[in-house]
Symmetry: C2
DNA sequence: TTGCTCCTCACGTCACGTGAGGTGGC
DNA sequence: TTGCTCCTCACGTCACGTGAGGTGGC
């Protein structure tokens, strides 16, 4: 059922794929066959607002791949699960909301770990600058050509074996 | 329609309220009246697994407040929105999932701001200890009776802020 | 002309709700 | 006995799917 989507025929197709999926390309008899439904049923669904195919300049319905996909979902809900059309409408709407919520959750998870990472980094940064400060003022100035800052970590004694963390 | 829930009659009622809402107390004729449905319809819904009232020792159905609430929701879905029972089942399940997802989101939001707060605190703490370090060693020893230590955490260098754990 | 499109109308089927009918225990 | 409960069976209604019938443009 998903072969068409997975088999772009050329690089150009690949680039336009997203757009193509929304483009009205199937006339009603073809769409009905692909969705395994009666053409008249498709007209009925449109009248009820369940699906809105494009129209050709001659007023012929043109169904996109996404439309067909949606029709198949509706077909599953009615034929297999026994929903009526009012149920289909409600379910599609709820699923939309649920997908959004789940996307929100995924997004928040990503943001949270990013935040955590940046915060840890920040603390590390402050700590490092703190250690650097412990080198007596002027010490480096007294040594001609000395390379202070970078590898510093000088006053290492107080360095903690900071890979032993994470316990608890 | 929610008056009953909002008007506990005593402190004792208040305490047991949650439990009470799940207790089977209405026989079918009462539950049907409360839900504005036909008793036979309630039996039908039970046969379809949409509702599961308790039973008395004599096998009489006993509906709880929660049951009645649920019946009213089903009644709304069928009568007003026109769903059939298959639709009702699916919608109830989806709503359950959606509520969970939204609870997750709320929980994550709280955790995120808490985390942010704690991180900021931690950075502030490290920064403070860093400033304290800038006081020359021995400075306080030289001043008889001087009150150094407290906010200082003096030879802190080797001290690790070992409450700043847990990040990653 | 053939085979598609558009539309509307009508019928068959099925789900659901409810009524009836018969039973049994407070 | 009355009024509830339990159950099953059957019918009316309505939604939905689909077929038919008539139209019009490639």
């Amino acid at each position: 059922m998903t072969e068409k989507r997975k088999r772009p025929r050329s690089a150009a197709d690949m680039a336009g794929q997203d757009l193509d999926r929304r483009r009205g390309v199937f006339m009603i008899s073809v769409a009905a066959e692909l969705a395994e439904m009666h053409p008249q049923t498709l007209r009925m669904y449109e009248a009820r607002g369940l699906i809105t195919p494009k129209r050709s300049p001659k007023n012929t319905r043109l169904y996109s791949q996404d439309d067909v996909e949606r029709l198949r979902r509706i077909q599953r809900m009615t034929a297999q699960e026994g929903l009526n059309l009012a149920g289909v409408e409600t379910v599609l709407e709820l699923e939309r909301q649920l997908e959004r919520a789940q996307a929100d959750i995924a997004r928040m998870r990503r943001r949270a770990s990013e935040l955590e990472r940046r915060m840890a980094e920040e603390i590390e940064r402050v700590r490092r600058s703190f250690k650097a400060e412990l080198v007596p003022y002027g010490a480096y100035d007294a040594i001609p050509g000395a390379q202070a800052p970078n590898r510093v970590k000088i006053p290492v004694e107080r360095t903690q074996p900071d890979r032993g963390r994470d316990s608890r």
